[in-house]
Symmetry: C2
Subunit: 148 residues, 2 copies
DNA sequence: CGGAGTGAGTCTGTTTGTTGAACTCACTCC
DNA sequence: GGAGTGAGTTCAACAAACAGACTCACTCCG
């Protein structure tokens, strides 16, 4: 029996879960954000099995988050680079970063690393707001309605 | 061999992946955001197997995203309600919503539902910004550094 | 020319996880 | 006394993930 798929669900969260919910997928995407492009580099960085990595990269290319671009012939070698859609998925990872930073360390412990701007050097702390008002989003306080 | 765990990774994204990356988990949390509290209601809404639902709820309670509160004796019945930490995880779901809304429908198709404020009735579109500057976060443009 | 090295996978046997369906248990309601 | 309900647990079949070995097409070094 196939694992239940959500890729044609009416709900955006379900469709994204279908795409990013496979084990290892968010970490592959994260490493792509950090500039990793080659199969071997993903594999060594993550320690994932080569078979699983191969399957994840194929999916991400199929879904349009990564482009697979040949950068030499004889033998053919590829690099995997983020597409526009792939970069947009960075917002989900950024939200995960913030939630993890705030809630996944016990007591006074904090993660050893932080995000910072390459230009100003200031620390960056992702926050989810409403685009129109700039106010924090609280999902449990919103309602769902049919789009008009 | 156990599926590789990321719950003690140095990276916040990896730890959150460990927590939310199990199949069905984001959807359980989403339904909790929409106000579902009872086992049977989750099961019927999602169509997930009862065994998996049971395991996911146990994990979410263990991790402190849900509280399991008895609301009657004889027989004991519980409701699962979001904790503060659980509501905070809503930001990740909101970012998923936005990415899904923008990128998971083909061509001119759009999801049939949208998020709206309960108070003003205005549509809400989650956006990930830097808390300090209010500017959009582009994860692939940031750097990682050791926290000082 | 021969052998080591490398990038990008595929293959294999075993262990874990997911699925749908049936089953349990402790009740309540008629 | 029997049907119904809420909240699970158990089961066997199937899918996915694991570590490690293997393949293939090259290049580089001596």
């Amino acid at each position: 029996m196939r694992r239940t798929r959500f890729d044609d669900a009416f709900c955006p969260i379900a469709r994204v879960t279908d795409l990013l919910g496979d084990w290892w997928t968010p970490l592959v995407l994260r490493d792509a954000m950090y500039g990793i492009t080659k199969f071997e580099d993903f594999q060594q960085e993550l320690g994932v099995s080569r078979a699983v990595l191969s399957a994840r990269l194929v999916r991400l290319v199929d879904e349009g988050l990564l482009d697979k671009i040949p950068y030499q012939d004889r033998p053919v070698r590829h690099e995997y680079v983020l597409t526009e859609k792939g970069r947009a998925a960075g917002d989900v990872l950024a939200a995960m970063w913030r939630f993890g930073e705030d809630h996944m360390w016990e007591g006074d412990d904090q993660p050893l690393v932080e995000l910072a701007s390459r230009t100003t050097g200031e620390q960056v702390r992702p926050l989810v707001v409403d685009e129109a008002t700039g106010e924090r989003v609280e999902l449990d306080r919103l309602k769902l309605r049919r789009r008009r």
